[in-house]
Symmetry: C2
Subunit: 342 residues, 2 copies
């Protein structure tokens, strides 16, 4: 029987160290692409078979993080995942993704699929339709590291990264006030989702601080989609005293609002101001370009990954915690809200 | 010791059958959301623990499909994944995703991670930078089902789903000719990627068929990004005899082209026509809205999943095949190319 090729054989062949070969095979960032390629080729030529599963069984780890996102079609989540991957890869971890499609049973199944895949733990953003957290509680109770980002539930008491949604909406509304708008409406989202409620409160408080009306007629409750944004805006604009500006709960809603406003023929930002939330990829491309709140997605992902790695270590030492990192929102002023100096 | 709860206990409690309980717990589409919720609650109350891993070890299957996509930030891939999930879920499969970030070593690692996760097989779209296919060949040689979509390599001889890229670019170019444009440029992508070369040939043949010039000066080779589209267009427009229309290899390139054209102050579509490829989410939102080629993403995903399930069955029967499904592109005429009747 032929002797099995080891990393030492590959190292000898390439006149390098076994450590370098191991790192190259594990795609470690300190190794150049050229070396990795050379090692991979030599490994293939010598018929080397890496047994990652065996080594993970020895260590009890797979160095894989499972990430649950509501949808890969929302660029916000794709961008956060890039942040998670950036940190994860630099620490020798890789990332498997699961889309919940905003559906609680699908989300529960995703957790099951990832755990069955032997991930070391889970980083997740909660589906819009989720109102019970049993599947997340179970992860926590099984002592598997769990970190939440953006859409979190504080009652779970796990580490999380969010931006200050209240502050973001407050800043957005204050910006419209400073541009001279006086009758500012808000299209919100589902109120059982904390971030949407936070944004609603931020909007209302900014108006109160400046002595502007907070009226029920100025607040619409939508479903966080282009269609819903359009419908809500149709209604707002057809009211007896229509608004002269709109704070949308997120950019897809703002996009629908923009379509409704254009259809009526009002000029943005001269006759009506508009601001979104989330800085979706399309928001800088549309005409007029959409003012919005940037959520520091890459940083959010990086912080989530760091919390995860930290949690892993703490769990080994028998500690637990529920650290919450709150990132600052960033106001992006574009054409849709800039009435002064236009 | 307490007796372990079984699905029969849950069925008795709910006055239903064990089969219904099992289907509900496995999120089968034939079971209503209300029933699933009820079963889950009862299962939790009775402390039932589903051992999917054990049942998958018995069957040798995990009913999980691993999907490798270049980037979750490109909505095309997100949309194909929805198509894959739609079929997969209806057949009791779930989907784990891995992003290659267009990097070959990352891609190889993704395959490793998915196989280590015991997926039943892989559906993939090849990274832009991949020029060697060793990691894919290995999957095939290990007799693990592998299906490719969109970015495929025919030499691998595995089942695949693509659209007819040649025909798509041919249709796009023919449309511009019919709108009266006579000096039509093309911004292509990396030529080692077959779909980009196919599109280039479709463009050139449409011009030839109508007796229009195919000139080197009219063809730019970009890097498939907004920046690259802008740079290529800057060059095309500053040439001695600039084009009066541009076929962009994909929508991000077209978006860059639009930015360049707007900066120069030319009117789209009156002075210059523009068409993209891929129908990215933003393309209908920008102004002017972008004409493009729709790639039937949902259908592509569904067909890929069906090929996968088919391949699984055939492998069990000792058959192999490399069926290739070619979908028809769909021309979407929007504002950016519609000069007649405007």
């Amino acid at each position: 029987m032929e002797r099995k090729t080891t990393i030492h054989d590959i190292a000898r062949e390439l006149n390098t160290t076994a450590a370098t070969v191991s790192r190259a095979l594990n795609n470690h960032p300190s190794i150049s692409a050229a070396t990795k390629e050379m090692v991979r080729e030599t490994a293939a030529r010598l018929n080397y078979r890496q047994n990652k599963l065996a080594s993970s069984l020895r260590s009890g780890r797979t160095h894989t993080i499972g990430v649950i996102i509501p949808s890969a079609e929302i660029s916000f989540f794709g961008s956060v995942v890039h942040g998670i991957e950036r940190v994860a890869r630099s620490k020798g971890y890789r990332v498997l993704l699961f889309q919940s499609n905003e559906d609680p049973s699908c989300e529960a199944e995703g957790i099951e699929a990832l755990l069955q895949s032997k991930v070391d733990g889970i980083i997740a953003s909660v589906a819009k339709e989720t109102t019970r957290y049993q599947h997340y509680l179970e992860v926590k109770e099984r002592n598997i590291p769990l970190v939440l980002f953006d859409r979190v539930d504080d009652s779970l008491q796990v580490p999380s990264v969010v931006i200050d949604d209240y502050k973001g909406a407050y800043m957005a509304t204050m910006h419209l006030i400073e541009q001279g708008y006086t009758r500012i409406a808000h299209i919100s989202g589902q109120q059982h989702i904390k971030i949407f409620n936070d944004r609603l409160r931020g909007y209302a408080d900014a108006l109160r601080v400046r002595g502007l009306p907070v009226e029920d007629d100025l607040i619409a409750y939508g479903k966080v989609s282009v269609d819903s944004g359009r419908d809500c805006t149709d209604k707002l604009l057809s009211s007896a005293v229509p608004p002269d500006a709109i704070v949308a709960v997120e950019d897809f809603t703002a996009l629908g609002a923009m379509q409704s406003i254009k259809r009526i023929g009002l000029h943005i930002p001269r006759e009506i101001g508009l601001i979104g939330f989330a800085n979706e990829a399309f928001s800088s491309y549309i005409t007029p370009s959409l003012s919005t709140i940037d959520q520091q997605t890459i940083k959010m992902g990086e912080e989530a990954a760091l919390l995860f790695l930290d949690l892993r270590k703490k769990k080994e030492n028998g500690q637990t915690n529920a650290e919450k990192i709150v990132l600052d929102p960033v106001l992006l002023i574009r054409e849709s809200s800039q009435r002064i100096n236009v």
